[in-house]
């Protein structure tokens, strides 16, 4: 099975990085999260309810919809914050990318460890600009809002192609497909990584951070 890969590019001001990343990551996760599964006898299961919440951006003229889960929001915010710090501290000219990868775990026999097989990767390329005055910032606010709107439409378009999705797992397999660590919602297994590029365009950062949601202890 081929991994589906999508790339989104945005150009933002430094203070807009957080919200732009959150907007796109949450939009993707909204579509890639379900309610909690409750398995019953006879092989049936029921699904919990996913709530949604509107989030207004402070530095961008934009509102996005995210899954109503404080836990998930915290995790995503933490990752975005690390990415932003990486961008700010690297001394690069403000280019980097953050990746949201959905994967499945494939159990292997001992002594081999489980395999993580990605089935969908979203890469958001960020270009940070510095603006000179307030008027430019105001224009940037609106423009970035429009751009994010276009990106949301792109995301929706890709998702609604209804291409490969992992099969619904049995109870024993659910942790190979879904992240069951959250109390209220159940996203597909995902990880967020980022890279900062220096002015030469090569990947400098050796601190590729991985946030792996893994509930099954081996």
């Amino acid at each position: 099975m081929n991994c589906r890969s999508e790339v989104l590019e945005v150009t933002v001001e430094a203070r807009q990085i957080d919200e732009a990343m959150l907007a796109l990551l949450h939009t993707i996760l909204l579509h890639r999260s379900t309610g909690k599964f409750h398995y019953k006898k006879e092989g049936t299961y029921s699904i919990g309810t996913v709530g949604t919440a509107d989030s207004d951006c402070d530095f961008i003229d934009f509102t996005f919809v995210r899954v109503s889960s404080e836990e998930l929001d915290r995790v995503i915010r933490k990752a975005v914050c690390e990415f932003k710090d990486g961008l700010n501290n690297s001394g690069s000219d403000g280019m980097g990318q953050i990746s949201l990868e959905f994967y499945q775990k494939k159990k292997s026999r001992w002594p081999f460890s489980d395999e993580c097989i990605p089935w969908e990767v979203w890469t958001i390329k960020v270009n940070v600009v510095n603006l000179a005055n307030e008027q430019e910032r105001q224009i940037c606010r609106e423009k970035v809002g429009e751009k994010l709107g276009e990106k949301v439409i792109n995301v929706v378009e890709v998702i609604n192609r209804n291409e490969y999705l992992p099969k619904m797992p049995t109870q024993s397999e659910v942790d190979n497909v879904f992240d069951t660590s959250l109390k209220d919602v159940q996203p597909y297994l995902y990880k967020i990584t980022y890279q900062i590029t220096d002015s030469l365009g090569t990947s400098v950062s050796t601190t590729m951070r991985r946030l792996i949601k893994d509930t099954l202890a081996l």
Partner: protein
């Protein structure tokens, strides 16, 4: 062909499409209410949340949607459309967007109804939520209020896009293939937001309002004039802990939430819905209206600050004010006459008159006719001298309070001179001095007066004309005596000079 579908699947599919249509309308209308939507996730399935999404049902919207569907389902050639338009307070209206739920002939026979179609419809609803926040009408709807409101209209049949103006854009939200056809959800939105001249669209159905204007009666029943349509209820305060359960409205309206290879289980449940917004809505509306009225009134009271700086304007404003300001203005007059009386005013000294009348007057004040300004008098630096003398004059240590004299004719003439407004000297531009955070005169001594009086330090007594003239006279008087003394002691002075040499 429908015959390929099992009866149970067909029944399920019809139900899914019906509730998908109803939820689509709810999502669109709620996204145009003008407020942020927030619903809670729940790990335990309640059985009443279609498509595993917490989408609340506004009863009026459901009612209108069902009325438009009239028992039919969106099908080929029968689209369900939700039209969003804007209506200004002047009555002009403009279509902003049209959301279309259509069905085409492309069938997907192999797809599993109870599982795949259901989940894909769920994803499509999420996409709809995301896209409704992206189209231009969303920002407009967040700012609706007094100037304009957002209205919706649901109709069934042919899609009408002519009202969207030239150059409208289309965005496709998504498609879901089913064994009977492909469900397509899209939005056509206006890009040209220049306002059209007011004209009524020929419609058979009334335009239905979404947002209740805060200052109208709360909508609670269906007895409304058909012309206005039915404004949708303002949502009751968000009861995330469950809210009001109205019970099962329709015994067939249950949603399947369990999946497996075995048939979905039927669960009888009560549905989350809103109470008709009469009481809670009313409670919300009236306090707000009262608050707004209060705000307006307070604005008027404190509104002296917005009066243009012309004496006539000031005058009209004062007279037009509610009685609340009258004590203030009369206080001014009292203060004025008091200050006039405090000083012993000799008619021959114009500076003294200046003292008398400058207590309430400074360089930057434009007060009504009862006061004069420094510029009215023909004295160099009159303004500065007057102010200094004034503050000194009011100090009992320097000048003991004097018996109140009667008003002299000169004072009266100065009064009338002041009442002309601009005065003989137009060198000064009178700018209204409105100190920040200062309300106008409820007390004789207001903040502006305080500023003016104590802005500069008091003038040196030795520089004051009054005393200097007095001391000059004294000096002259005492001069001969001093000369006599010096002549008497001339020998001493000579000896002193010799010593220095």
């Amino acid at each position: 062909m429908d015959s390929d579908l099992s009866p149970q699947d067909k029944k399920d599919l019809d139900k899914f499409i019906k509730f998908f249509a109803l939820k689509t309308v709810q999502v669109i209308v709620q996204a145009r209410l003008g407020e942020k939507i927030c619903t809670r996730s729940s790990s335990s399935p309640t059985g009443s949340d279609w498509f595993n999404l917490a989408i609340k049902d506004i009863p009026e919207v459901s009612h209108e949607a069902k009325k438009a569907l009239a028992g039919q389902l969106p099908g080929i050639g029968r689209s369900m459309c939700v039209e969003i338009s804007l209506k200004t307070s002047e009555g002009d209206s403009m279509e902003l967007e049209t959301w279309c739920l259509e069905m085409n002939e492309k069938c997907d026979k192999d797809i599993k109804v109870s599982y795949t179609v259901y989940n894909r419809l769920s994803v499509l609803l999420k996409s709809l939520m995301a896209i409704t926040r992206v189209t231009p009408a969303y920002k407009l709807s967040r700012k609706q209020g007094h100037d304009y409101v957002i209205l919706y209209r649901i109709y069934f049949g042919e899609v009408q896009l002519s009202g969207l103006g030239e150059g409208f854009q289309t965005v496709r939200v998504g498609v879901v293939g089913t064994p009977v056809g492909t469900v397509t959800l899209s939005c056509a939105y206006r890009t040209n937001l220049a306002f059209m001249s007011s004209r009524q669209f020929d419609r058979s159905a009334p335009i239905l309002g979404i947002i209740v204007d805060h200052f109208v009666d709360p909508p609670c029943s269906s007895q409304r004039p058909a012309v206005l349509g039915q404004p949708c209820n303002y949502r009751a305060p968000d009861e995330d802990d469950g809210g009001a359960f109205a019970g099962v409205q329709d015994s067939q309206e249950v949603c399947t939430t369990s999946f497996s290879t075995s048939p979905p289980s039927q669960m009888c449940s009560s549905r989350l819905s809103y109470q008709p917004g009469a009481l809670p809505g009313a409670a919300e509306v009236h306090p707000t209206a009262a608050n707004a009225a209060q705000v307006l009134h307070a604005g008027k009271e404190g509104g002296v600050g917005v009066v243009p700086c012309q004496p006539h304007g000031a005058e009209t404003h004062l007279t037009g004010e509610p009685p609340l300001n009258t004590p203030g203005s009369s206080g001014d007059d009292e203060g004025l006459s008091r200050s006039a009386e405090e000083r012993s005013v000799s008619p021959s000294d114009p500076v003294e008159y200046l003292n008398a009348f400058t207590r309430k007057v400074g360089a930057f004040v434009n007060k009504p006719s009862t006061q004069i300004t420094a510029a009215n008098l023909d004295l160099p630096f009159a303004a500065f001298a007057a102010r200094g003398l004034d503050s000194e004059g009011s100090d009992p240590m320097v000048q003991p309070p004097e018996s109140p004299p009667s008003q002299s004719p000169l004072q009266a003439s100065l009064h009338s001179q002041g009442s002309e407004g601009s005065g003989p000297q137009d060198d000064f531009v009178m700018v209204d001095f409105r100190p920040a955070f200062s309300k106008d005169d409820l007390l004789p001594m207001d903040l502006g007066t305080f500023y003016r009086e104590f802005q500069n330090p008091p003038q040196l007594t030795s520089l004051s004309l009054h005393i200097s003239s007095q001391s000059m006279a004294d000096d002259l008087d005492s001069l001969p005596e001093k000369l006599r003394v010096y002549e008497k002691n001339i020998d001493e002075f000579d000896a002193f000079v010799d010593m220095l040499q």
